[in-house]
Amino acid sequence: MQKETLLKEPVNLIITGVGGQGNILVSEIVAQTGCRQEWNVVVGESYGLSQRGGAVSSHVRLFQHQEYGPIIPIGEADVILGFEPLEAARQVVDYGHKNTCLIINSHPVYPIGVLRGKNKYPSLDLLFKKLREMVAEVLIIPATKLASQLGETVVQNVVMVGALAGSGCLPFRADTFIEVIKKVVPPKVRTLNEKAFYLGLEEAQKIKSLKSL
């Protein structure tokens, strides 16, 4: 396989969501894809108690020369892949910079404080508007909705992997992703996951082409 050069070193990606949304599977897919394209990869993950409905995030770093640690420094995430709007925005506060590319699943998962009426979940329009003012690129993907079209909302995470591929934010190739997905998901849900991937990929490409009109 031809080795591609990274435009920047390291490339820093944050995958974030709420415990139970399949964060770890996605960080595995992204990291393995990076490896297949012959970059060095390091991933830092938070799991344990946070899997119980808390905010979870994985830091994925790609590099070719110098070795890096598993945590992305403040303000240095190049891409943030968010499975939940609030958690994506939270990562922007800490890790975003002006050129960060944000890819967000528009489906909110309400924190308990919001469900209990103690806190307010921001209006999505307002939230997305704010994010657009702050960073270079914001792609809003209705991943949960797309996944439910396949009859399984759980694959919203793989829809988001597709969106990452379609966004062109990272030098990953779609076929490399597919090879890895085939390897990491159980055989009986392979087709489902491939479909989910392409739904996300097409959605991201569609948004991108509308924007460039």
Binding site: G54, Q66, L86, R116, K130
Partner: protein, 640 residues
């Protein structure tokens, strides 16, 4: 996928592993024979993945009932000449410590390696801990890896080291090693076949006279460490400023130097063997430097050791100024003298000391931008899963104590149900400490009646915790006529750490059928009054709690329902819906009970219609909210 990669034969192949998988691979490359552990984040996957692959090989793996039993078993294997691995989280080292300090005196035979995973910041622990201090107090050598690959290397070498010195060795991991993934180049795996032999003439004893022998052993270790490739330096040979770093600090420091363009001005010294300190190596790097910065997780261990060494040798060394956690110049995420480290912290310290500011390559967001975004974001607290039986059990206890009306106390314990100390668990727990503490504390409280303490006391323990640490406290309570209700939350697995089986699960670590050690049989055999209830049939369960707390003596109530995550995997969900015409929203006298009070994440609020709804994507169909809704608006689908 890591489990497939850790069994690959192909030496030289590069695979992506997390730190725990890499340490498991290290054990396989060393030809481990015996593995035992009690699960605990962030250590669980070392033994978890070895259990998964043990069929491919021929070694023994068990989930043990607790850490001291695990270590004793591993020592047995070592005494018989086999290689044994025992893994635990930092808190587990406390549990195993009595045996560790004893066994270390008499020593062992086959390589005996402890992987102890600390959790700086307490990502999934109630406290952050630095096991190196305990290891040093026990006089057990410590290796501390900086990368995933090195974690494999160190575990592998630790077996050989242990055999050479005839004593146990600790490999100290931290969350950012155990739960990080990195590329590991595989090496060959050792052949496993070896006979266990423990000759009648062999003896392994603990006697105070052996302390001197352990001291000699540590001297031998220090000599081995003096030539170990795990101790190295990086950067210029001579530098005015030197960073001494252990573990994860190595990569953080490298990144910080690189981004400040200081690599040719600052030297990094990285001892991978913090205890016993490789003194000559350290002294060599102290000589000629003017400033020393210490970067390490969690507490200033290396720092204190180096400072003591400097004090002893200061007449031969020039004046050095030290900067670290102990001196107050470096603070972790939890503040001075503790806390997790990261690149930002290291960079800030080095920028401050060298006067070279850091300029990020990408344009940063402004403070105002961040602030105005932050202001929109409500916090996200931990929650019990949708349909979690613990939520129902907490509701039962809360309701029963409210009905009893005598300020009942709830004494909590460790597991998913530690969330009984949080909002999702109705802030029910009055105390929360460590495995098994609840029953012990309840014993004490219930003996205070003559001092005027008359409140009812309820201890809540998990099933895995019951086997791990509660039984002695219950025996103590019965013996000393304690007077409280101990509730065992039995969901069939060790849920918090990844659903490992326990003695009541009917399965062992490798998935074989196993004897079920029934909690009620154990309790009955000790003479307790025992009742089993279903927390989902909460009216009856409340009644049971009330009845039992009014009875004298120490009683046991088992609230049994499988963990929702497990049940959801195994059973077909029944669909639950809200008959929105019956839910009167805010006008209803229930004050939006399902969302405001009960708080299952699947009970959501339909803002448009101002009524309750169920999120079908996450509802597991436990049906509890159906019974709880005072308006009868929540129903099984088909009953609407």
């Amino acid at each position: 996928m890591g489990w497939q990669d850790i069994v690959r034969e192909e030496p030289g192949k590069q695979v992506l592993l997390n730190g725990n998988e890499a340490m498991a691979r290290g054990a396989l490359e060393a030809g481990v024979h015996f593995v035992s552990a009690y699960p605990g984040s962030p250590s669980s996957e070392v033994t978890g993945v070895l259990a998964q692959v043990s069929k491919n090989f021929n070694f023994y793996v068990e989930w043990s009932v607790n850490e001291i039993v695990a270590l004793e078993g591993a020592a047995g294997a070592s005494f018989a000449g086999l290689r044994a691995l025992c893994t635990m989280k930092a808190d587990g080292l406390n549990v195993a410590y009595d045996f560790l300090t004893s066994m270390n005196l008499g020593g062992c035979r086959g390589g005996l390696v402890l992987v102890v995973a600390d959790d700086p910041f307490g990502h999934s622990s109630l406290k952050e801990y630095d096991s190196r201090f305990l290891a040093a107090a026990a006089w057990v050598p410590v290796l501390e890896p900086s990368t995933v690959q090195e974690a494999r290397d160190m575990v592998k070498w630790a077996f050989a080291l242990s055999e050479q010195i005839k004593g146990p060795v600790i490999v100290r991991s931290v969350t950012r090693i155990s739960h990080s993934r990195g590329i590991v180049t595989l090496k060959a795996m050792k052949q496993m076949a070896q006979e266990a032999d423990f000759k009648p003439t062999q003896q392994f004893h603990t006697f105070a006279r052996f302390h001197q022998e352990v001291r000699e052993r540590l001297k031998q270790v220090e000599e081995l460490f003096a030539v170990s490739p795990f101790n190295f330096s990086f950067g210029p040979e001579k530098a005015d400023l030197t960073v001494f770093t252990c573990g994860t600090g190595w990569l953080y420091t490298k990144e910080a130097l690189f981004s400040l363009q200081l690599e040719d001005q600052i030297k990094i010294v990285r001892p991978g063997t913090p205890f016993p300190l490789p003194k000559q190596f350290i002294l060599g790097h102290l000589s000629g430097t003017k400033k020393v910065v210490f970067i390490e997780e969690t507490r200033p261990f290396l720092e204190e050791k180096v400072l003591a060494l400097y004090a002893l040798h200061s007449e031969n060394l020039s004046q050095i100024k030290f900067y670290g956690k102990a001196t107050g110049h470096v603070a972790g995420l939890r503040g001075p003298e503790c806390g997790e480290m990261n690149t930002d912290i290291v960079r800030e310290v080095l920028a401050r000391l060298t006067g070279r500011p850091y300029h990020a390559s990408a344009a940063p967001l402004t403070k105002e931008e961040k602030k105005s975004l932050q202001a929109l974001l409500p916090p996200r607290d931990y929650v019990l899963c949708p349909g979690c039986p613990h939520r129902a059990s907490f509701w039962v206890v809360k309701s029963a104590l409210a009905l009893e009306g005598n300020n009942g106390m709830v004494i909590g314990d460790i597991g998913c149900y530690s969330m009984g100390a949080m909002e999702t668990g109705f802030n029910l727990f009055n105390t929360l400490h460590c495995m098994g503490a609840s029953a012990g504390i309840a014993n004490g409280l219930s003996k205070l009646q003559s001092y005027g303490f008359k409140q009812p006391v309820v201890a809540m323990v998990g099933d895995s915790t019951f086997y791990h640490a509660v039984i002695p406290a219950l025996i103590n309570g019965r013996w000393n006529k304690a007077n409280y209700l101990c509730i065992v939350l039995d969901n069939g697995v060790t849920a918090m750490t990844g659903h490992q089986p326990h003695p009541g699960s009917g399965k062992n670590a490798v998935g074989e059928e196993a004897e079920v050690i029934s909690i009620e049989e154990v309790a009955k055999s000790l003479g307790f009054m025992v009742k089993v209830s279903d927390p989902f049939r909460y009216t009856e369960a409340i009644h049971d709690v009330l009845k039992l707390i009014r009875m004298p003596g120490l009683k046991i109530l088992i609230l049994r329902q499988p963990c929702a995550l497990v049940a959801n995997r195994e059973q077909k969900r029944r669909k639950v819906v809200v008959r929105q015409e019956l839910c009167r929203g805010d006008a209803c006298g229930c004050m939006r009970f399902c969302t405001r009070v009960w708080g299952c994440p699947a009970n959501v609020w339909d803002k448009k219609h101002e009524v309750a709804a169920i999120d079908p994507a996450i509802c597991v169909g436990c049906g509890v909210c159906i019974e709880l809704c005072p308006a009868g608006a929540i129903v099984w689908e088909g009953n609407d």
